[in-house]
Structure formats: C-alpha cells, structure tokens
Point group: D2
Chain length 307, copies 4
C-alpha cells in the first residue's frame, strides 16, 4: 500500500546513526537536515509519480495539462468544456464547486451536487477531476467524485485540513500560500506526507508583492528550486500567476521552460460571461493553441538535457 | 438578542433608495459603498462594545490588557500566570491549547483537556480566556470554556471557520492575515458579522515583508485606519509584531499611541523555558511594568483629545 | 577635528588581535562582526550627539522636532512657516528645494535660489535648515545654506553621493530606502562615516509593502532595533510613513513611544494648496498641538525608564 | 538626428485636440493618458530598434544575447571572455568597472582604466560593451568606450543621472529598481526619452520580496506587460533574477518564452574565483549551451505566432 510506515526521529543532539541502523527491523535510515523530511530529495531521490489511472499521470519527465473553468456553472458549461478538452487531448479538468471568496456576498459555487453532475460527465469522457476542498468535512463527501483534491492558496497552512488529507488515498495538489515561502509549501506537503498520503503535487500560482500591474507575481524561480529540493512533481498556474488573459499563454510557456511538470490554466467558452475570474480565462481557441504549444515547448526542453 | 436581522442588497445598478425605504416593515436603510458592509462605520457609527461579563469589556475609550503564555503547558504554569495577572489587575489571559505549527513535528498544544483545566482555574480567579480555535469541529467543544475565540493569522481567510463563528454568541478576535490587507481583515470580519455574531475584535499582529531584522513588520498604520473604517475595537499584538523580547515593550506603547483599544502580549515566568515563542515573551517583572505603562500612556492619550 | 583616523581591517581569517594591539601608535582596537563597523554600537557604545550650534541638538535622551512644508514655494510661504515654528518653539525646519519626482513632468522645486532665500529668513529667526541633496554637484553649492543634508529614500544607496557626503563637516540625515532593510541603512551610514563624517542621523520613513491603504508601511520596529545596533540618533517621519493627514499625529506619537530621538513631519498653512504632498501635510493648528504632544509623550517615555 | 522635438502638454482640464491640431507647424498630435507619455505604445506603436552599428541590434522580433562577468578583473580575464563570446557568436559583453556595493569595504571595480583596456580588446573583436554608469560625472569620461550605458537597480530613480543620460546619443539600458514597479520603470525611461535620448532598453532583473530561497524574485510577468505598454525592447537578467547558478539557465529560457527581446547573464571562466557574484555566474560550458538554447527557444517562440 501507499501508506508506508516511517519513524521520524527529531533529534535535539547528535547521535550515532550506526547504532540505530543495527537494530532489528530497521530497513533503511536517512538523515535529513531540512525542516521537511519525507518530501525532501535527501530522503527520496527518485521523483514521485502521481498515477490517476487510465494511463493519466503527473510526473517528472512528462507534461501534464490541466484546464477548465474557474467555477463549475451548469451542465451545459461542463459539456462544452469537456468537448473542448477531448478535442485537444487534455485528460484533466479543473473547476471549483466550493469557492473561497474574500467577500461573503460573492458566488460560492454549486457545491456537492455540482460535483456529482460533473463527475458523471467527466467519467463518461475519461477525464480526471481536479477541484478544491475547503474543509475537513468535505473530504469524505467529495471522495467518490474527485481525482485530485486541490488545497487552495488560502488553505496552504490550514493544518487540520492537511492532517486529514494525509489519511486519504487520493492525490492532493497543494497551492503555494498567497504569501507563502517555498519552505512553507514544502512543510505543508510534509503534513500530508507524514500522515501517510504520498500522492502529492506542488503548485506555484503567484505570490503577493507590492506590484499591482499584475494580480500576483508568478514566482517561476520557485519551479527549479522546488524540483531540486523535493521529489514531488511541480505544476504552474499562469492564470492566477498573472491574472490577465492576454499574457497567460506566455507565462504558461515560461513555466514549461522553468521546468514545470505540468500547467494548470483556466478556460471557458465565453470568458467574459464566466461567473468568476473571467479576466484571466482563455477562450477555447486560445486554450487549444496553448495546449499544443505547451507540448512542443516541453519537447524542446527535453531535447536540451537540462539538469 | 444580538442576532439581528439585516437584509443586505448588493445592487449591480443604481436604484432608488427612496422606493425601498417606503416599503412596509423597513425600519432603517443605508448605502455602504465598501466591500464590507456591516462592519463599516458608514453603516454603524457608534463604536461596538464587547462585554465579557463581570465588568470586563473591550471597547473604544478603554484600554484592554490581555497577557499570557504562547502555549498552555501545565497546571503549575497556569497558576503562576494567573497569580501574576491578578497582582497586576489584568483581567484577560491569552494562551494556546491548539497550536498551528508550520512543521508537523512541532508541539501542537495540550488540547481540550488543557483548556478545561485552564478554565477551572481562570473561572475561580475571575479571569477571562482568549484562545485560538483552529477548525469548525472545535467551536462547539470549546464553547463552555472560552470567552473570546481567537482566529489566528493563518485562518483569517478560512471562510468555513468564519461562517461557523458567525453562528456563535461568544466574542471572536480576528487576527490580520500573515500577509493580509486591511481590507481583507474587514471582509473576514464581515463574514462573521453577516452570519449574526457582532461580538468582533480586530487584531493587528504584524505582516510579512522583506525585512528580516524582526519576525514580522508591525503595521501600526493599520490601527488608526481600522478605527476610522470600522466600528469594531482594535487590539495590537506587539509580541508577534516584532518577535524580539527586548523591544516588545516599546512597540506595545507605540500601539497605544497609535490608537489601539487594547494590547495582547506574551508573558511567562521563565521565557527561556517556554514551550514556544520564548524569544518574544516577557518575564513577569517586564510584564508588570508594561501593564502599568500601557495604562499611563493610555491616560495621556485620552488627555490629548485625538480625533 | 571630527574627521578622525581609523584603520578598518577586514580580515578574511582569524587573526590575533593582541599582536596588533601591541604595535606602536595603536590607541584602541575593536572587533566588530557586523557588516557595518563604525556606526555599530559594538565599536562605539556612547550615543552620538549632533550639535547644530546655538544649543540645537539631535541626540539620545532628547526629542528633536523638525517641521515644515514638503516643498519650499515662496517667500511668503517660508515666512508663515517660520512664524508658526517660532510660536511653537520648533528650532528645525524641513523643506525641499530640489525635489525627486517619479514623473519628469512634475514640479521639481525652486532650486538653489529658493534655498538662499530660505536661509536668509531662517538665519534671522534662529531656525536650522534640513533639506534634501540629490547629487554630488549640489553638495558644495548648498553648503553655506544648509544645517542638515537630507539623503532621500531614492538615494539611500547612491554610493557616490554618500562617499562625497563623507568628506563634508555638516550633518547628514539618511532616510531608509523605499524598500531598504535596516542592515542596508546602517551600511549606507557606514559609507558616510567611513569617509570621515560622523555627524549622522538615521530616519525611518516607511517601507514599500503590498498594503495600499496607506502610502507606505511605517516600520516602527526599526526604531528600537536601530537604537540597539547603532550609536546614531534615529528620527521618525510619520508624514511619509502613513501618507494620510488624519493619522499623522497618531503615528508621530507612536514613533516617540517606539523610542525615536526626534520626529520630522510636514506642515503648511493650507495643506490643500501645497505644491506637493498636501494629503499628508498638517495645518498649523494640528502641527502646534502635535509639537506639544510629542514633547509630553517624550517626557512620559523618559519617566518609564525603558532600557 | 535621433534628438526629436516634442511638445508635451500636461493638461489639467479637457481641451479640444482639434484646435491645436489645426495650428501651423503641427505635424502630429497624440493623447496619452498614462503617466509616461513618450515611451508609451499609445504614442508610438512601432517597436523601437536599438542599432549599435556593425549589424548589432536590440529589437522586437530578434533575440539579443549579452554575456560577461560581473566585474572586469584583468586583461587576461577580458581576453578569455571575449574568446568565449566569439566562439559562441555572442556580440555584446557585459561587465562592471564601477561597482555599486552595499558595503563600503567591498571591491568597487577597476574604474576608467579598466574600461579603456576592455574597450581596446572588445573593439578588436567586434564586441559591443554594456557597462554600468553610476553618476553624472562618469557619463562624459565613459562616452568613447561604451556602447550601452547601464543604469543599475539602485539608480533607477536617480533622476539627475537620468536627466543627463537624456542628453547623450548612446543607448541606455535601465534596470528595474530593487523594489520598483513596472510603472516606475516606464517613468524612469520617460525621464531619459523626454530629455531627447530615444535609444532605450528596459531590463527586468528581479524584485525584492519576502522570499529568501532566491536572491530576488524574477518577475517575468513584467515582460509581456512592458512589451504591451511600451515600444521599447525588453531584456531579462536571470543571473540577478534568481541569483543561483544552477537555475540561471532555466530562468533565461523562461524569459525567452515570456517574450523577452534579449537575455543578459553572467559568465566567467571559473565562477568560484570571480571577484563578485560568483554564485550566480555560469562557466563557459554552461554559457555556450545556454546561448544556443536561447536561440532555439526563440525560434520556436517565433513559430508560435504569439500576439
């Protein structure tokens, strides 16, 4: 099973690692000096593969494309997006049914019923579902209908949520906090991983800085740094990263060259009419071109033999 | 009851306020152009008083002193802190029993049992309890033992938690997010207020900036701005705001002059031995002097007749 | 003379301090581990006094009040401000004759002629002049008319300017950079000090953060930290620090409690008509009250015996 | 000549543009609502080409590669870098002879003599020189030996320097300020342009944020935004942008995909022995591969027909 058994010793003083290694039942032993342990490359060198079944994977050496609307809105909208994804050979669909909103008066999503409807249609089409979980009580009710639980930027340090996701055997994608450090993202992943769930994906989605010409500052520096520090796959979200439709394509391709293992972006048939985030959402024509360019850019990157 | 009934209309277009005002059953009507409505001074001009019973209040025109350790550690520790508070006429005690920690391997607090023990001792001494609630499921179990639920800086935008706290009839103190804006703090308060709970306190506790000489950057600018925008009381936390024991006193007094309605700070008999946050915790001698100086500084501020 | 002779050795390896101390002609020897050396308290424990003559000083244990308009505009304006200062026993006047402006199309100040006019009137009234120097070539021409050269927030790391100011025997006030660290401010001071000019004043004026409710984020944490690290006096500028007239008074008083040795703020007869920065400028009534409150707050702070 | 004559009217009120257009001698008239006028695409739609002679250009639709050490160190070092550049068909060399340093005790560069030596060798090899100018007095003495004056991140708002560079007829590359906004970078360019020098290049080199895992946060969002707002070419500096050698290559390629018109990076025969910035400097093998990959990535970008 993927739920392994590790004993993590946090030593306050130096100790003799050889003494422990000789004890009975010890299979393997590592010293990891980072604050995060199990997600560190010092502990596990081989990159982690997230296998969603039906040949759909997120992993180092591959390029995952995840697209879809900000919010799930209606059956018709879901059908249109799914058709678009199939035409472009995109296997994973994003979309929100529970929406965290700064203001209590904004649209909060279709909820579980929306998810069930979406699941039915996605299932049929062989499309995997990525959607945000906002609180512990939703984990179980969402379970049958989700392929990847997304932890949003406002919940990156919601430690109870992370603890509970550590007990689940489905993949979790953790977005970097709104002003989270790279180190904190890895520690949040450590919460889930140390709970027993190793199916983890990290996502750079822009950070808060003083700059206001863009919605966030997409920190692509984080991509090669995360890849070097951790064995987990790293995804880039250019839609939230810049927040302006005209430039999402460039930032997506920049993310590929920075070393991402996948790109997640927002698309909608008519972005101007989307319930939320329309100004950063691509239409289907733009989305189709982007998916193609992502793959071609990735092929070129592979040919460069970057370390 | 404190649970009032308001109908909040979010108009997309101009409408004639007089037409609505003439309808039957309408008692009062306001136009509030801010994103937050009910916590705005445009809606309610008179400052809100948080009455904890037994004559203990947090309100504009008064100076609340809240002190205590970062973590509740033991019966002995609680007794010592309570004695110290009583000697210095401090009526509210802070302390954590559920601790949010960046690393999953750090001390996470004594939990509900610690809270019950603390409650018993505090009750006896006539001391009110301020402590952090981390998730929805804790609200009910903590209810009998808490005077003020604290929402921590990592949960300022945990909207489910805010929603549920809106249904409770006990006071809630919301800390500003780690990199939260003043506007976002007010919107988070709006979540609770619009749910029906008007017993709200706002807390400035420092924000994340590029500066590393201090733990956070205490943004005292936020104090007069929050006081001008909202009718809710504003508290300053200098311990987290600077993170260095030697300077907590100065920053507490600066907070008073900036216009705070109260100060919350960390104290411990032997800060060096505290389970957490020792480097920003005052010992009892420092704490006693600070409590006195806070009150004297507040008296001077009142004499200045600041608007 | 104030131009002392120091030999600063930057050792790459450990060396035996005793060997050097025994050499002939060595009067005193210090090891300073900070990046800044001469401005550090590790090198010079006693606070530095800036003596401007006629009994006007800026120093630890005293409270300097510096007030005046953003820009020097006209003879009439200067006369009015000077009268206001005299009525309130304020001995130092700020004002810009060379104005750094983000846009090349904004008002850039009256220049040297404005300074000469100002000097004449200030001299007569026994008022000291604090004004910004923007480039090396201005140092000499401004020299006869200036008591304190101000280095603005955009020039904190203009190293050529700092080098040249190191050769002058008049006081220099260095503002913290727009996004400068505390460490960088001390290093900039080190440039001037190591050049031979020890008459230095440090000024906290707010830093750039993501928060937009205020013009800058006044970092009062910097005050006790700078006072602890350096022997130089520290001034707070609440006008730029918050940028909103209504709250300048509170932030000035907060600065006093944080431990400042002086406050510099903007005042104008009719702030709405000021050529620049009107929205953060106090009128004379507000300014008069503030000067009084600053002094009373300082007296209280002294009585607290803060370390 | 490139020094054109423009009359820029900053109107406070609405006026009738047709009345002005009909006056004699008026060739063309534009309304530009941005704070910057002449560098805006609203005023000049066609991209600006910087022609350095001998067929070396920086312009939209082309990919400039600029490489070289942080500091010019010695004749031998210059020769080695030039050979490396020639082998890889790189036509522009960067290097500092005047070095701005936070600490007054750090290496400050070889100065004008170093520049003359470099010029002689570069001239021979047909290589163009890009180097930093730190103050007004250096402009004239550097003039004969420089192809592109670089304005460093600490001087982006040194307005006197910008004014004087506006009078020169050589190209100027302005780096974004350490915590400068995109808007401020454009306004700084406006200073030079409005002075009469239209040979301007903008450079994104990373901004200061709270993140410390990298030296700066390379803000690639700025690239498409600057390209959309201005007709000036945009260069990316990945060396300062991330500050860690292992990741400079990825960030350079990401910069190309984000839409840069050129890449400037640091290279040295033995980075570990470089006088400065060694930790972010590529060796010649890495540099050679990068130059090739930059060009191939650019060719692919062109094939994508990005708008």
């Amino acid at each position: 099973t993927q739920l392994g058994d590790y004993l993590i010793g946090i030593g306050k003083k130096d100790f003799d690692i050889r003494k422990i290694g000789q004890k009975e039942g010890i299979q393997d032993i590592h010293i990891v000096s980072d604050e995060y342990k199990l997600v560190s490359k010092k502990w596990k060198v081989a990159p982690t593969t997230i296998d969603l079944g039906d040949g759909v994977c997120i992993k180092d050496g591959d390029m995952a494309v995840i697209a879809g609307p900000c919010s799930i809105e209606s059956e018709e909208q879901i059908r249109k997006v799914i058709n678009h994804l199939k035409e472009n050979n995109i296997k994973m669909m994003r979309g929100g049914v529970f929406k965290p909103r700064s203001s209590p008066y904004a649209f909060r999503g279709l909820g579980l019923d929306g998810l069930k409807l979406w699941y039915e249609l996605a299932q049929e089409a062989g499309i995997k579902i990525v959607t945000e979980v906002m609180q512990v009580s939703q984990i179980e009710e969402m379970y049958p209908y989700v392929d990847i639980y997304q932890v949003g930027a406002r919940n990156t340090q919601n430690f109870n949520l992370l603890d509970e996701l550590g007990k689940v055997d489905k993949a979790v994608m953790i977005k970097r906090g709104i002003s989270g450090t790279i180190e904190e993202l890895l520690q949040s992943a450590e919460y889930v991983f140390s709970g027993g769930n190793e199916k983890l994906i990290l996502c750079e989605r822009g950070i808060r800085t003083y700059e206001r010409a863009s919605r966030n500052t997409l920190d692509l520096n984080a991509v090669p740094i995360l890849k070097a520090k951790s064995h987990l796959p790293v995804i880039v979200d250019p839609s939230h990263g810049i927040g302006l439709r005209e430039y999402v394509t460039q930032m997506a391709l920049a993310g590929v060259m920075a070393g991402a293992d996948g790109i997640i972006y927002e698309t909608h048939e008519i972005p101007e009419k989307a319930y939320s985030d329309g100004q950063q959402t691509l239409d289907f024509t733009q989305s189709g071109m982007l998916a193609d360019w992502i793959r071609r850019t990735f092929e070129m990157r592979k040919s460069f033999d970057l370390v």
